[in-house]
C-alpha cells in the first residue's frame, strides 16, 4: 500500500548518489525486498514507471531480489525458514524466535556509468 511513497523516496536517494558519483547513466537499479518486509514486489514494479518519469532513472531497469524469511530460535539457536514454521522452532518447539532475514527493504546497488 505504501510502495509508491517509498519508491519516490528511493528515486530521490539514487539521484543524490548519482550526483555524488558523477553518474550520467543508470542501467539497472537493484533492490532487496524481504518476504516479510511489508513491501509487495508486484506493487513496486507497477508503480515504478510512474516514479521514474522525468528523472535520471527514466531508462533504468528495475531488478528485485526477493529475500526469503529466516528466523533463529532464541532457545536452542536453530536457524529455520519462517514459511511453514509459523514462528515456532522446528527443533525444540520454542516460540521465542527472532526473524533474522526477510524483513529488509534495501537499495542494494546501481549499475551505472
Amino acid at each position: 500500500m505504501h510502495e509508491l511513497g517509498l519508491m519516490a523516496e528511493i528515486v530521490d536517494k539514487i539521484e543524490a548518489v548519482a550526483k555524488e558519483n558523477n553518474v550520467t547513466e543508470i542501467e539497472t537499479l537493484v533492490l532487496d525486498v524481504g518476504e516479510y518486509s511489508g513491501v509487495v514486489p508486484e506493487y513496486v514494479e507497477e508503480c515504478y514507471p510512474a516514479v521514474i518519469e522525468g528523472t535520471l532513472l527514466e531508462k533504468t531497469a528495475l531488478k528485485i531480489n526477493v529475500i526469503p524469511g529466516k528466523a533463529r530460535c532464541e532457545n536452542c539457536g536453530t536457524g529455520f525458514a519462517v514459511k511453514g514454521n509459523e514462528n515456532c522452532c522446528p527443533r525444540c518447539g520454542s516460540q521465542k524466535c527472532k526473524v533474522i532475514e526477510g524483513g529488509e527493504f534495501v537499495i542494494k546497488e546501481i549499475v551505472a556509468r
Binding site: N21, I107, R113
Partner: protein, 236 residues
Amino acid sequence: MDAFRVIEIKQSVYADNNAEADRLRGEMKNSKTFLLNLMSSPGSGKTTFLKRTIGELKNDLKIAVLEADIDSDVDARAVAEAGAEAVQLHTGGMCHLTAGMTRQGTETLDSENIDLVVIENIGNLICPAEFDTGAAANVMILSVPEGDDKPLKYPNMFSVCDVLLINKIDVQPYFDFNVDLCTERVRKLNPDIRIFTLSGKTGEGFSPWIQWLKNAVREWQVSDRIQENALMKTRH
C-alpha cells in the same frame, strides 16, 4: 565512453525514518513526554476509547492527541471536551505516519508541559506497522466485531505492539470472538505483549489498562534510559 560499474548502496529504505524516530524519542525523553502510538482498523472504537482514557487520566496527567487518521473519526472537539489538547496532522493521504510527520505535530505542542501524547495513527493494520513514529510504546486496538483471526491476517502489526487492547468486550456475547484463542495466536507472534480486554463504552476492564498506562508514563519520566519497545526490536 566509460564502462558500466556497480555502485554499492546497501542502504535500508527505512533507515532515514528510523534515525528520525530515534531523534524524536530522545527529545521526548528529555521533555519527559510519553509518546504513545495508537493503531487500529477504522471502526475499532478509538474515539470512545480515547475519550474514556483521557477522562480517567486528566486529573493526573496533561494529555494531547495527534490526529492522523485520513478518514478521521475522532472529532477534535470531542477530544478537547474530554480534557486533552487535539492537533490535526496533515498526512496528505498517506497510508501511514512517519516520524517526520509526528514531529510536525509534537512541535506545535508545548511538550515540556505535556505528560502524554497519543498519536492516533492512520486506520489500517498494515502500513503503520512498518514505520517507527518515535513513540515510547506502540499500542493497538482490536475490537470484538473484527474477529479473533486478525493476528493470522496481519501478523506484523501484532508483532510490533507492546500492548493489545481487545475492545468492545461488552458485545462479545453477540459474536463468536474467542479471547483465549486470540490471545494464543497473538502470543505466538509476540510472547511479551500485554493484553487487556475492555470496553470503551461501558468502562469494563478499564482499570488495569489505566494502571498500566500511568506506570508506563511514570517510568518514562523517571528513568534515564530508553527501553527498546517491540517495534524497535523488529526494525530493519
